[in-house]
C-alpha cells in the first residue's frame, strides 16, 4: 500500500514540475536545435566557360532583371550613370558552350538578361558581375549557386532557391523569397520583406530615421534576436514576434518555415 502512495506522489510531483515547466519555460523552440541539416548549393566545377559584357546608359532604364543558374551573382551599386553587366556562361562541354549565349531584352524601361535555350539535357550555368547606378530597381532570380550583394542603394528583389545569399550593405527596399539556402543580410537600412523555407537567416539591421515595425512569424523553426520585439508562441509550432523601434515607419516582415531566423538591430 505504501509503495502505491509513494508512486502516486512521485507522479503527481513530476506532473506539477511538468506544468510549471510548460507554463514558465515552455518556449524551448527558441533554443538552438541539436541537429542542423542544410542542403547548400551544389558547387559544380565548370568544364568550359566564356564571358559576355553589356554596357548600357542608365538614362534609358529604371530596372534591371537577371536570371541565373549554378553560378555566382555579384551585385554592387555606385554613383555612376552606367549599367555594366558581365555574364559568365559555363557548360560541361565546349561544343555546348558554343551554342549558348546571354539574351538581352528590353521591355519598357526594364532591361533583362537570361541564358538562351541550350541543347536539351545539357547542364549549363549563368552567373553575373553587375555594377548599377544608385537608386535602380534590380531583380535577381537565381538557382543553385550564390548571390552576393555589396553596398547597394535602391530597390532589390531577390528570388533564390538552393542558393546562398550574402548581402552586406543596403540602403533601400529589399524583398527576398528564398528556399533551401543560407541567408546572411548585414547592414540593412530600409524596409524588408523576407519569405523563406528550409533556410538559416541572419538579419542585421542598422538604425534608421522613423524606425522599424517588426512583424516576424516563424513556423516549425527557431527565432532568435536582439531587436525591440516580443517573442510569443502560438499554436502549430508558430513563433510570432512583433514590436517597434522609433516610430515604426519601415516594415520588417519575415515569414519563415522550417528554418532558423536571427534578427538584430544595431544603433
Amino acid at each position: 500500500m505504501k509503495i502505491r502512495r509513494v508512486t502516486l506522489i512521485v507522479l503527481v510531483f513530476l506532473t506539477v514540475l511538468f506544468i510549471f515547466d510548460v507554463r514558465y519555460f515552455g518556449n524551448r523552440s527558441i533554443q538552438e536545435p541539436s541537429i542542423h541539416f542544410n542542403v547548400g548549393p551544389g558547387i559544380l566545377e565548370p568544364a568550359a566557360q566564356k564571358m559576355q559584357e553589356f554596357i548600357r546608359s542608365q538614362s534609358d532604364f529604371t530596372s534591371l532583371a537577371l536570371k541565373g543558374r549554378h553560378g555566382v551573382v555579384e551585385l554592387r551599386s555606385a554613383e555612376s550613370d552606367v549599367i555594366k553587366v558581365q555574364a559568365i556562361i559555363w557548360a560541361d562541354e565546349e561544343e555546348v558552350l558554343e551554342g549558348l549565349e546571354v539574351r538581352e531584352s528590353i521591355s519598357g524601361r526594364e532591361l533583362s538578361y537570361e541564358l538562351s535555350q541550350g541543347p536539351a539535357g545539357q547542364e549549363a550555368g549563368l552567373g553575373f558581375i553587375v555594377h548599377v547606378p544608385d537608386g535602380m530597381e534590380v531583380s535577381v532570380d537565381h538557382q543553385f549557386g550564390s548571390v552576393n550583394v555589396d553596398d547597394f542603394v535602391g530597390f532589390l528583389n531577390l528570388n533564390t532557391s538552393f542558393s546562398n545569399l550574402n548581402v552586406n550593405g543596403i540602403e533601400g527596399t529589399v524583398t527576398i523569397a528564398s528556399n533551401f539556402g543560407n541567408i546572411n543580410l548585414q547592414r540593412i537600412r530600409g524596409p524588408l520583406r523576407l519569405d523563406n523555407s528550409f533556410a538559416t537567416c541572419r538579419v542585421g539591421l542598422l538604425a534608421i530615421d522613423g524606425g522599424y515595425d517588426f512583424d516576424v512569424v516563424v513556423t516549425n523553426g527557431t527565432l532568435l534576436g536582439k531587436a525591440p520585439f516580443q517573442i510569443g508562441a502560438e499554436s502549430n509550432n508558430k513563433l510570432v514576434a512583433r514590436g517597434q523601434s522609433g516610430e515604426g515607419v519601415h516594415p520588417v516582415i519575415i515569414r519563415s518555415n522550417f528554418g532558423t531566423v536571427s534578427v538584430s538591430l544595431e544603433d
Binding site: 509503495i3 502505491r4 508512486t7 502516486l8 507522479l11 513530476l14 506532473t15 511538468f18 515547466d21 524551448r28 533554443q31 538552438e32 541539436s34 541537429i35 542542423h36 541539416f37 542544410n38 542542403v39 547548400g40 548549393p41 551544389g42 558547387i43 559544380l44
Partner: protein, 254 residues
Amino acid sequence: MTRFFRLLRKDLQASLLPLGFLSGIALIVMLFTRVRISMGSWPNEAALAAVSLPLVFLPLWLLWQSFQTLRIEWREDTVYTLLVLPLPGWKVMLAKLAAICLEYTILLAVTAVGALIFFAPQVQQAMENLPSLLWVIRNFSLVYLFSLGVLASMVIFVQLAFVVSKMVGRVQGLIAIWTLFLSSWFVEVLGALMEPLFRWIPVLSLDRLFRLDELRAGIVFKLNLASEIGSWLGILALFVLTGVLFEHFVEVSG
C-alpha cells in the same frame, strides 16, 4: 551470464510466431508488388512503397511488442519465476530489450533480402545514382545503428511505463501512458539542463561520418552532442530505475 541468455532465448522463442508472420507478410507484399510491376499494372516506384511499408510499420510493432512481452509475464503468471531468478532486475529488462533489438535486426534483414530478391533491377538502378557499394553498406550500417539506438530508447520508456503502472492499483493503462509522456519530458529537460556541462564536446559532423560530400557537395549535417548527452544519461538512469523498481517494488498481483 547463461541465465541471461536463457532469458533472452525464452523471449525470442515467445516472439517466433509473430516474427515469422510479419516476415511472411513483408515478403508476400514485396512479391505481390513485384508481380504487379512485371505485369505493368503498377509503376516502378511501387517497389519503394513495398519496401518502405514494413520499415514504417516495424518500429510501431516493436514498441507494442516491448509492452506485450512484459504484459504476458503478468498474464501467464511467469513474473513470479522472473522475480525469484537470481538475476538483477536490470538484466531481466536488458534481456527483453536485447530480444526486441534482435527482432528488429531480423525483420530489417528480411526486408533487405526481400528487396534484393524481388526488386533487383530497381536496386541496381538506385545503386547507379549512389557513389559506391562500400558507401551504401557503410551508410546503411550507420543508419541501422542510429535507428537501433532510437528504438532502444523508446523501449526503455515503454518498460518504465509498464513497471510503474504495475506499482499502482488502478487505472494502470492511464498511468502507463502518463509515465511514458513524463519520462520523455524528463529526459528532454535533463538534456537541456546538462547542456552547459558538455559544451566542450565538439559538434559531430554527420556529413563527414556519412560521407555526404560523395553524394552531393554542400550538404551540412551536424549534431550538437552537448544537448544530447544529458538526455542519453537520463535514458540510462531510467533503465537502471526500471530494473530497481521491477526487482524490489513491483506488485505481482496488480
